[in-house]
């Protein structure tokens, strides 16, 4: 870039930053919500991949809980941690949620709830385990509510053992939720003579004890990369044929080949020695889509076979262990860690 263009660019940027209006403008909560939150929670907060942000849910939580939830997300449960946002941006989103829903923030004291976690576990098993699961991670496949598919509940039972939830919710908030229930979510009230206050305290103590549990997701090896690249001992055509035979043997359905450059250049210019063998198992694929509806961004699975200028042939296979972790969904991680083993077996068979 020429010096002149640099100066023009710098000037334009400086004129922008020099504008008092730009410098002093408060973050626009609605715009931030639409960009960062609406994809999952929908425009009006009806919920989608993310939980609904309706009045009934917002009115029984504090602003601090909302701010911490935005900051910390829900590790392993789709919602990312928005750690790079400024405090002013987070506050603007919370204010937008309050204004648009007409709700008033609840306030909770920091006073810890003291209870008997052992008795709480017993009560939890009797009253909560059916929805929240033995490990508190919530019941059922997938995360959130819906994405163009049917669900039994409007809201999936919350993962109350999630580290993001536990770090955001105070003891007093958890206690109030147990006492009052959450009608929207189908959670009954356990106060009002159903459980004694001391028993509710025991339950809070047990929920808090989930903090001691570690996440089960296996860490990636330090040298693990998003793709495996193998050199094939065979020529291009034989390698393609071997890949298809191995995939068929593993019960995958194979789609018609697509050249890597197909659709990008005309058929006469296309490099036909670079092909993607695409495959899937429909049952497994739709099972995966129920867990993570955005998998269209990486599916169907593909093994790429490239003939190099020196005649060598490469097999390029995505590393599902790495890719799955980009979705922040522990259920998908578990599934794809196992699928990765299948991929390894296929490549072993092809390159024998």
């Amino acid at each position: 870039m020429s010096l002149r263009r640099y100066l023009v660019l710098a000037g334009a940027l400086l004129s922008g930053i020099g504008s008092p209006a730009l410098l002093l403008a408060a973050p626009n909560g609605q715009a931030l919500y639409e960009e960062h939150c609406s994809a999952c929670h929908q425009m009006e907060g009806q919920g989608g991949i993310g939980l609904p942000l309706m009045n009934a849910k917002l009115s029984d939580v504090s602003d601090l809980y909302l701010r911490k939830t935005i900051r910390l997300g829900r590790p392993g449960r789709v919602m990312p941690a928005f750690q790079k946002m400024s405090d002013a941006q987070v506050d603007a989103i919370v204010k937008f949620l309050r204004d648009s829903s007409g709700t008033v923030a609840r306030t909770f004291t920091d006073e810890p709830v003291v209870g008997d976690a052992a008795n709480g576990e017993k009560l939890y098993t009797e009253n909560c385990v059916k929805c929240h699961g033995e490990d508190g991670s919530g019941e059922g496949e997938g995360t959130g509510v819906t994405l163009s598919r049917e669900r039994t509940f409007l809201v999936m039972p919350a993962s109350i053992s999630n580290s993001g939830f536990l770090a955001s919710a105070s003891d007093q908030m958890i206690k109030q939720v147990i006492i009052n229930g959450r009608r929207l979510s189908g959670m009954p009230s356990f106060g009002h003579d159903r459980l004694q206050e001391s028993e509710i305290n025991d339950l809070v103590a047990y929920v808090r004890s989930f903090e001691e549990q570690e996440r089960q997701v296996e860490a990636l090896d330090e040298d693990e990369r998003p793709t495996h690249v193998y050199e094939s001992p065979y020529d291009f055509d034989t390698t393609v044929s071997n890949v298809k035979a191995a995939l068929t043997g593993a019960n995958f359905r194979i789609f018609p080949d697509r050249y890597i450059e197909q659709g990008l250049v005309d058929e006469f210019s296309m490099n036909t020695r670079q092909v993607g063998v695409r495959f899937c198992n429909f049952n497994v694929m739709y099972g995966m889509l129920k867990i993570e509806p955005r998998l269209g961004t990486v599916l169907p699975c593909r093994i790429s076979i490239l003939e190099r200028k020196d005649g060598s042939v490469l097999l390029v296979v995505p590393n599902l262990r790495v890719v799955s972790r980009w979705f922040n969904n522990d259920e998908l991680v578990g599934l794809w860690d196992r699928m990765e083993e299948t991929f390894t077996e296929i490549v072993d068979e092809v390159t024998l």
Partner: protein, 160 residues
Amino acid sequence: MIRRLSFVCLLLGALFIPAIAQADNMLMGRMPLRAEIVLEYLKESIEEHGYTIAHLQLCDGGMKDFGYKSDFYRVVFFGKADEVRHLTEKYPEIVSYLPLKMAVIAEKDETLLAIMNPEALAPYFPGQEMQIQLGRWHSDLVSIFDEVRRETAQHKPIGQ
């Protein structure tokens, strides 16, 4: 002098990174319009950004049998031929992620656009060329999202 100006430009540029840059490994946007219409705006914007639509994959066949209410789930594959050719030759690892793919998912009368954030690959390609390439894709995608969002906001049904 030029180095200093570059630094100033980069520094100032960083202050103006669009909000979507702060998102996670997925770039997503919700458009308050039906998927068929959003898809047309999306294709137009992708091409205006210099990319070629390589392929449009129909994913919704049979989805109803698996409990999906939506009948619209498309994936748009797109790229630039020279980029794909050069990168495939020099960085074969990247070929698994080429061409780029954007999912277009209907949710009643709204549409969700989702794509992997190319910058999720950045830690694995520390060289300057790939850092610039991944940053450029990211910047283009943010611009495409913004453009589709603007266009769909201005969309008026026929007859109005």
